[in-house]
Amino acid sequence: MKEYSQIRKIAMIALLLASASLVAQTATGTINATLVNKSAISLIFDSDPGGVTLGGNGSSTASVNLGTISAFGPLAPGVTRPSVTASNYTVRTLFDVQVIQGGVASPNYTLSAQLAAVAPTGFTYAVDAVTLTTAVQTIQANGAYNTDVRHALNLTVSTAAPGAGGPAVGTPLTTTINFTATSN
């Protein structure tokens, strides 16, 4: 009986050791991750409720189709004619600029613009009250980030006849304006 008791004890110990070996193995590891949060701003054009619906709305390469314009005739929706004089008339539409910032410790931005090429004969372009040329012109010195900022695109057209200082008539004319936003 004493021998059986010892054998039983040995068996119990063996079972305990065996069960201990069944506990799940563990392992640990670490990932050393890095991220460079680069500072940047982006500029997009948004349609203004009072203006022409932009092509490429919400992008940085948008387009404005003013349709057919004239001194006295009807205009497309979103296009107004704030002035008509003997020598010229102005058509206007509104558009929004939104500058989005990330990682920039800047309170606001400066918006500038320039014509990509000399304006067609008989045309003068202005954004707000700033007449555009092929040189960079400051449009706004303290634009607010992350919100639509309304701007007026004013196109002044000479009333002169084609060939006499006036624009070509009946032909689609295209002009590109380059905008730059710079963080202050």
Binding site: F72, S106, I177, N178, T180, T182
Partner: protein, 202 residues
């Protein structure tokens, strides 16, 4: 080659001092980089392309004649636009006059009277090579019997435009006189017309 040799000597000859110097340099770069990075203004560019087509156009407006207020030149309501009013008052054959002193009143023959008032028409052009324009007018409804509406002695019709001028100059006032001739047999009533003027570029 000479420069390369010098660098090699420095590297090979580096000791703990050189190693510490490199560490210090790297640390300085790490510290300065964010500051320099923040000092640079971020910028973004975008393009807006504008397209349109210009069309020739002309406009017509009515204006008070410079002699407005004198006999023969009554004031227009809403002058300077293309939609004006002209009140010729009240007239009667027996009285030989009109209630408005600005209206010119006259008897034509033995049984008809005429009231008239002058005003100016101005036509302007834009982006057009047209040298001049022609002017026509039309009344809106057929007048009662023995009532005639005229402009500068040209009888108007409600069946089509009647030409008044063949070549008027742009940007120049053209004085026109509206006349109403009423025979003494016409019953008392309100005489009213909307007269449409049409300028067409030549």
């Amino acid at each position: 080659m000479q420069v390369g040799k010098k660098v090699l000597i420095v590297m090979v000859g580096s000791s703990n001092f050189v190693a510490h110097a490199w560490k210090a340099l790297l640390l300085a770069c790490c510290l300065v980089y964010p500051i320099v990075g923040q000092g640079q203004a971020a910028s973004a560019t975008a393009q807006l392309t504008i397209t349109m087509s210009v069309q020739s156009s002309i406009s017509l407006i009515f204006q008070n004649n410079p002699a407005v207020g004198t006999t023969g030149f009554c004031p227009l309501t809403n002058p300077g636009t293309n939609n004006v009013g002209l009140d010729l008052g009240t007239a009667a054959f027996p009285s030989g006059s009109d209630s408005f002193p600005c209206v010119a009143y006259a008897h034509i023959g033995s049984a008809t009277y005429q009231v008239s008032s002058g005003f100016d028409v101005m036509v302007t052009k834009a982006n057009s090579s047209s040298p001049n324009y022609r002017l026509a007018a039309e009344i809106s409804v057929a007048p009662p019997a023995n009532v005639v509406w005229l402009v500068n002695n040209v009888t108007l019709s409600n069946t089509g435009f009647t030409q008044l001028d063949a070549s008027d100059a742009y940007g120049t006032r053209v004085t026109k006189t509206l006349q109403v001739q009423v025979k003494n047999t016409v019953p008392a009533q309100l005489l009213q017309e909307t007269i449409t003027f049409l300028a067409t570029a030549n």
